[in-house]
Symmetry: C2
Subunit: 196 residues, 2 copies
Amino acid sequence: MDKHPEDMNLKEIFIEMKNISELIVDLAYSSVLFDSEAIADEVYALEETMDELHYQLTIRALLASRTREDAEQISEILNVATAIKDISNHAQNIAETVARDLDIHSVIQESLKYTDEKIFRVELEEQSKLIGIPLRESELASRIGVTIIAVRRGKRWVYNPPKRFIFSNNDVLMARGTEEGHLILKEIAKGRRSKW
Amino acid sequence: MDKHPEDMNLKEIFIEMKNISELIVDLAYSSVLFDSEAIADEVYALEETMDELHYQLTIRALLASRTREDAEQISEILNVATAIKDISNHAQNIAETVARDLDIHSVIQESLKYTDEKIFRVELEEQSKLIGIPLRESELASRIGVTIIAVRRGKRWVYNPPKRFIFSNNDVLMARGTEEGHLILKEIAKGRRSKW
């Protein structure tokens, strides 16, 4: 997200909402699987952004309705937007089980283990060799089988980062890959591994 | 899904529900993007399966609650299961806009176009060279950049098919890839292309 929701047009808001809804479901499962409050926090932050986007979209939609035809089209957009917001709401419900700290979701965790590829969260540290190089050059996908599905930089998100995306210190990477790929990326992110 | 929900245990049901919830959101967006009733129909079928799974999970959960500790753990499982079911419910709401046939969701379609990779649906025909060979040998991912995310065979679904999965006539493939990959896979599925 390069712009604040207030400065985005209807289409930009819609794209952002769709991106969040796809990412947030994966992250919610991942937070439970790893019992990770850090990942659950990403879910809450995305959910908050989603609420703001939904509000801004509603405002824009209402202002754009002039004729009956406008209103029909826009009512459909609002329906879909609300469904998208609700998806992220329920993803948040899933992530909230992490905070309850009851250690009673073993059935859920057991079930989630049954996937080869998992979503994980890795934060880049100053010493990491990834910093300053573009995603293309990192060759993470071909070399360690890890796909970067989103990056959070402070409060900004980049979904499906393009190949020219350049890694920066403190970037929080959301990645998809095997457990082995996860371990390697963690080492790279901490600067403990300079070749891969 | 190899078993009917009635014959599955709690964990198996849970895994199935999670798999559906991830697939159905992608398919719902895809149905709108391509204005495809065939894809919307897959969404409805998955949503129906989800309802059945949720019911079976609830029954099992209630039968398994004996002590207070059981009940606490199980109430958490039911919370998560309901959130998962609700996600698929809202995905269905998104897909339903296709059936309304109002041709008024251009804003939505325009927004969905802004992704390099799309989810599409391809049905294997008798002449296809894919039939009878395992996913591994097909090398669809490395050669045409297409990932098979699920396969429907009649009423049975296989999510994230393993490398040993063997394609069969009439298999319905849900795939992720670029528009170019989509076109090539369509040709392969129809038997119009024997090399790729």
